[in-house]
Amino acid sequence: MSRYQVDKTMRQVVLDQQVAAAFRAGPDAFLDGRDLTDEERAALIQLDHRTLYRLGAHPFLLLGFMMATSTGDRAELAAGYSGSVAALGYPDFET
């Protein structure tokens, strides 16, 4: 588990629209060289926020990451997000 590296990656995407564009354009290449588990890497590439949430990604960053990488309706994403993680409770997000 490399929760810190997941948070670091999400933060870079949130802070800079150009970085977000680079991530969207080629997430595999973007993540190369980062100390991530296979599960974390796959979840980031697939924008699988439920897995990232379950693994303890920082929830504040995670929502921002999903917004920054979304190509669809952000309002719809925001509306559906909370319900989609409701069954997962509150995983520890301390790094």
Binding site: Y4, D7, K8, R11, V14, L15, D16, Q17, Y53, H58, P59, F60, L61, L62, L63, G64, M67, A68, A79, Y81, S82, G83, V85, A86, L88, G89, Y90, F93, E94, T95
Partner: protein, 285 residues
């Protein structure tokens, strides 16, 4: 000696400026606009020379590669919010001078009073600073000293520490060899959840909000400190630790009851609150 003339604590909900500006039919939002306009007036009446602004950072300026619990900004200028916040929340930019002498004084005397503040000569203040500043001092004409707290990246200091740092800050301010009038503005929030199971479209814990504001209004600072544990805050909302900035204010006010408080529940966002100690009026000492 520096004189503490006003202490104000309000929320930094980044949606609130837009909601108030838009008007609408939510009486709580209308009241929030009136309350925060009054806080602007109260701060102006206190005639501060400088504002010490105690607020947090949302992993914009600080990160877990080097996370300070409490930190002072001492660059010549402070500006914000960060670019993605302007884009996401449609916030207005805020920029003003930093009172570098006062910042250094707080830093050096803080060491003597038991607070090892970190410091920074290069930073951007995020919406936790710019939202309350835009409400209380939109003129951008007063120098500030930004003080950051870590309330977002656990482990965060316990409530006891926030209270103690507030008390130390008062001793430091009142001991500085200057005749400056110092206003303190702090932003935090009550129960809020972002990125968790509870939707951030209403208070995530009304009971917490009412209980804490009742205790604060009654001057029950010790009970607030005892009850504002990390576990209780997390139960109230996954980012409700922002409440701890208000605990720091309680320490700064020596545990006394505020001159006034308010608690509002808007229809579509987290609770809006205020606490203010009008010290220049002789309020709460």
């Amino acid at each position: 000696m520096a004189k503490l003339v006003e202490i104000i604590g309000i929320t930094h909900n980044p949606f609130l400026p837009g909601m108030i500006a838009a008007g609408g039919d939510d009486p709580a939002i209308a009241q929030a606009g009136k309350d925060y306009a009054r806080m602007r007036q109260k701060m102006a009446e206190a005639k501060p020379d400088v504002l010490v602004v105690v607020a947090s950072d949302h992993l914009n300026q600080w990160f877990m590669d080097n996370m300070p619990a409490f930190s002072i900004g001492k660059a010549a200028r402070a500006q914000g919010p960060v670019a993605h916040e302007i884009h996401t929340f449609r916030l207005q930019p805020y920029a003003t001078d930093v009172d570098v002498d006062l910042a250094k004084g707080l830093l050096k005397e803080g060491f003597r009073e038991g607070v090892d503040f970190a410091y920074s000569d290069e930073f951007t203040i995020d919406h936790a600073f710019t939202v309350p500043l835009s409400f209380v001092r939109p003129e951008m004409d007063l120098p500030i000293v930004p003080i950051w707290t870590n309330v977002i990246a656990p482990p965060v200091p316990p409530a006891e520490r926030f209270f103690a740092v507030g008390k130390a800050l008062r001793r430091v301010i009142e001991g500085l060899p200057t005749d400056k009038r110092v206003g303190v503005l702090s932003s935090g929030h009550l129960a809020v959840e972002v990125g968790g199971p509870k939707r951030p479209t209403y208070s995530s814990d009304v009971e917490f909000d009412r209980r804490m504001m009742d205790l604060i209004a009654a001057g029950e600072a010790e009970t607030v400190v005892r009850e504002a544990t990390w576990e209780r805050l997390l139960q109230a909302g996954n980012v409700a630790a922002g409440f701890l900035n208000y605990v720091l204010l309680l320490g700064l006010a020596d545990g006394r009851a505020p001159s006034e408080t308010n608690l509002l529940f808007p229809q579509k966002t987290a609770a809006v609150n205020l606490m203010a100690w009008h010290l220049h009026e002789g309020g709460a000492r």
